[in-house]
């Protein structure tokens, strides 16, 4: 009996050691990070195509950053261009030719080897497409020369030191000729990126799986889905109940729910999107500088921010993006001075002005400005139009608007100013044709001296402040609600976030 008890005790002791060891192993295993295999990101804008060269907008850019690669990429945190499919690059002395050395270890998702011919095919395809993307290439790139399999020369029409930025945009992604010739619709989906597009249900979702043959570092996530949920409340609910892991642009009024929820996190990103007031300076009341300055000095800008975005905006001094190259605000803000505003208005022949707007936030901003202007005797009429109608009405050549409230998402590079100030640009909502501004834009485009370039851009912004072609109102707030385990995303102020390395820890 005694022997049996001793044997049982020994067995218990041994098993205690065994289980203790096992539990230690379990503890070690649980200490290792675990990630979700499938991640879902929800957005309020829909993805309609998997062809990176056919379109240039935020929601598509987020997709193409996952599925495709560009020759170079822009690191916005460090403000430097980094190699992607190109390993190095060199400008010619006349700034007309950019020679790039390419990686030799990259294959497309269909198994084809990536070479310089793919760069030539991709860029020539963009130029022949007549798309929102091609307008960045046509008139800028003259032709592409293949030097050898892994060297390519890009010859420009005129010097443009911002050309690298265009090459870093998702619209300049490299596509595969063989895939496109085999299938014109789905062929452009084939890129060299970390994620392979497997399904695109327009108006619903895009599904991707990880490219196991990707040339760079990869993520533990196996599947990535970008879902379209147009209604902001429904988007947030989908995040709250775990259907999605990322919710772009939750409603301002619902941010409280996110902050109260311990499983969620609200990410606030400094935005480069500026909301500003634009006068049509080519004719009518907007052409009268006194009227423009009268309005500039009578607007209560804080009230505008409160009215348009429930106070969730940052006062803009220049109408440029705060992270855009060459940003300058040394001239200071317009003073809120009703007497000064009245003096300007007295000198003006116009006492009424029409503001055209296209959505409820801009309508509210216009209503605040209307109330402010009334105090100096300026009558403001508000005209609410549908987006396409306003675009047509404010097109550069045929502009009929008197003034409008416009929102521009600025890119990081300096020549982005050509959109807002360039002759012929439909984003030039002031229909500005100022010779000095055009000269400054050209000088800056062709200048490699950093300080000199910045001085050109500073002069443009100072001229704008003096003549009040554009009245900067505010920078919009950019928020994203995420599952607390989300990491690896590069959040961008211009909203073309990079989900490539997204992981969600569990």
């Amino acid at each position: 009996m005694k022997k049996a008890i001793i044997t049982i005790l020994c067995l218990l002791l041994v098993s205690a050691f065994v289980f203790a060891g096992g539990s230690n192993e379990g503890a070690a295993a649980s200490a290792a990070p675990k990630y979700k295999e499938a991640v879902v990101c929800a957005d309020g804008s829909q993805i309609t195509t998997g062809d990176p060269q056919s379109i240039n907008n935020l929601q598509h850019n987020r997709l193409f950053k996952c599925s495709h690669n560009t020759l170079v990429s822009y690191n916005s945190a460090a403000a430097v261009y980094e190699p992607e499919l190109a390993t190095s690059w060199e400008w010619s002395s006349d700034l007309l030719t950019l020679t790039l050395k390419l990686r030799d270890d990259v294959t497309f998702q269909n198994g084809e080897k990536f070479t310089a011919n793919d760069v030539k095919y991709s860029y020539e395809r963009i130029m022949g497409m007549n798309s929102t993307a091609s307008s960045k290439f046509v008139g800028v790139l003259d032709h592409v020369e293949v030097v050898d399999d892994y060297t390519v020369k890009l010859v420009l029409v005129s010097p443009n030191v911002d050309w690298l930025d265009t090459l870093a945009l998702p619209l300049a992604s490299i596509v595969n000729q063989k895939a496109i010739e085999a299938d014109a619709l789905k062929g452009p989906w084939v890129g060299t990126g970390m994620w392979i597009i497997t399904d695109l249900e327009e108006g619903d979702f895009v599904h991707m799986v990880k490219n196991d043959n990707y040339w760079g570092d990869t993520t533990p996530t196996r599947e990535l889905t970008l879902r379209y949920i147009s209604e902001s409340s429904a988007r947030l609910i989908a995040l709250q109940n775990g259907e999605v892991d990322v919710c772009i642009g939750p409603a301002t009024t619902e941010k409280g729910f996110i902050e109260e929820d311990p499983t969620l996190e609200l990410i606030e990103i400094p935005s480069s999107t500026c909301c500003y007031f634009a006068f049509n300076t080519s004719k009518g009341p907007g052409a009268d500088e006194n009227l423009r300055l009268a309005l500039a000095h009578c607007i209560n800008y804080e009230d505008v921010i409160l009215g348009a975005s429930s106070g969730e905006g940052t006062r803009a001094i220049s109408n440029w993006g705060p992270v855009t190259y060459g940003y300058y605000d040394g001239f200071g803000d317009y003073t809120y001075d009703l007497e000064l505003a009245k003096q300007y208005l007295e000198k003006s022949a116009y006492k009424t002005l029409t503001i055209s707007v296209k959505d409820s936030a801009r309508l509210r901003a216009a209503q605040v400005i209307q109330a402010n202007a009334k105090e100096i005797g300026l009558t403001i009429n508000i005209e609410e139009l549908e987006a396409a109608a306003l675009t047509a009405k404010s097109a550069f050549k045929t502009a009929e608007h008197e003034s409008m409230i416009y929102t521009l998402g600025w890119n990081s590079y300096g020549d982005d100013a050509s959109r807002a100030y360039g002759v012929g640009s439909n984003t030039n909502k002031a229909t500005l044709t100022n010779d000095r501004v055009m000269e400054l834009l050209k000088l800056a485009r062709e200048c490699t001296d950093d300080a000199q370039r910045k001085s050109y851009y500073a002069e443009i912004q100072t001229l704008n402040h003096e003549h009040a072609w554009y009245l900067p109102l505010f920078y919009t707030e950019l928020s994203v609600a995420v599952n607390k385990g989300v990491s690896g995303v590069i959040w961008e102020g211009h909203q073309s976030h990079d989900y490539s390395n997204i992981v969600v820890s569990i």
């Binding site: 195509t49 327009e202 108006g203 619903d204 396409a388 097109a395």
Partner: protein
């Protein structure tokens, strides 16, 4: 009967021509065109001119419409300016989802409104009648986006029973179907009630009761069958409305249906997608109305004879009192 069906199908041709003409020209009159949507606001004059030529915008709207209709004659609904996909493919991808939603909403509406309408008519003037009418009124008064969000919060967020949106199989149909169905329920309940009240006062029902037929049988077999034709008309109309797309509900539930397809592409001025989708919806609507008309004959065999008669009107006159004739 066959002559009637053929006539109705042939009548669809001028309807399609009329609808396509109106849509095409209204889209053309709307300010803004597809060119800016395609190349963006930063495009050069040359790019814009090239695209205007490519899509025929340098010629008259009659030319473009004629070209579109010529393609339609060959069964081609056109190609989207934006996505470059055939409109047929885009429409047919969305149609099953819209069909699911329309059927689901009809099931909810019929399931709720017919019992409510019958009870209301039988107990006319009573508290039950008034309660049923208040319920119907509530269904009509609640805005879809509000009801939809409430349902999502309760059944998706709090209870976790169904997905909050998107097309994810049968479970995802339930909430949007309830949202649309409760709106439809109001009209259908009132129609059922008034139709039943008309019928239950008829002499033949009194005779049936006098002959000892049970009240349940009198109501469900004798009265309801004769009261059903106006209800059938409403069901057909609401099914057609569903096929056309319930844009607000589709938006709240992120439902990739036909309604949102049309609205999204109206904003982008993609004329082939809008025109092609509306033509398809017109055809389906015409077919549903024809099916409803044929169902009249199933419900009331006397109507069948009228369909067969030569020189018959295209739609038989339907009366609600004492059957149909």
């Amino acid at each position: 009967m066959h002559r009637y069906v053929i006539k109705r199908i042939l009548l669809l041709i001028p309807v399609i021509i009329g609808v396509s003409f109106m849509i095409y020209f209204i889209m053309d009159l709307a300010p803004g065109d597809i060119i800016t949507q395609l190349v963006g606001e930063d495009a050069s004059e040359e790019q814009i001119a090239a695209l205007r030529h490519q899509y025929g915008y340098d010629r008259s709207v009659f030319y473009r419409y004629g070209k579109y209709m010529l393609g339609l004659l060959h069964g081609d609904l056109g190609t989207s300016y934006i996505t470059k996909k055939p409109v047929w493919d885009m429409y047919i991808t969305r149609l099953p989802k819209t069909f699911w939603l329309a059927i689901g909403a009809s099931v909810v509406a019929i399931g709720l409104s017919i019992p409510l309408g019958i009870v209301s008519a039988v107990k006319s003037g009573s508290l039950i009648d008034n309660s049923c009418m208040v319920m119907a009124l509530l269904g009509l008064s609640m805005p879809n986006f509000w009801l939809g969000l409430l349902l999502i919060i309760e059944f998706s967020l709090n209870l976790g029973w169904v997905p909050s949106g998107g097309f994810r199989g049968f479970s995802s149909v339930i909430l949007p179907a309830i949202t649309i169905g409760t709106g439809h329920m109001a009209v259908m309940t009132r129609t059922t009630r008034s139709s039943m009240i008309d019928v239950i006062r008829q002499d033949y029902l009194r005779t049936a009761r006098a002959k000892g037929v049970s009240e349940h049988k009198v109501i469900t077999k004798h009265a309801f069958r004769n009261a059903f034709i106006p209800i059938l008309t409403i069901i057909g109309g609401q099914l057609c409305a569903g096929i056309g797309g319930a844009v607000i509900t589709e938006s709240v539930f992120s439902w990739p249906g036909v309604g949102r397809l049309i609205i999204d592409y109206v904003h982008q001025r993609d004329v082939p997608v809008v025109t092609g989708s509306i033509i398809m919806t017109t055809i389906i609507t015409g077919v549903i109305h024809l099916a409803v008309d044929l169902l009249y004959a199933v419900v009331d065999p006397r109507i069948k004879g009228k369909y067969s008669r030569k020189g018959l009107r295209l739609a038989p006159r339907v009366k609600t009192k004492r059957g149909a004739a």
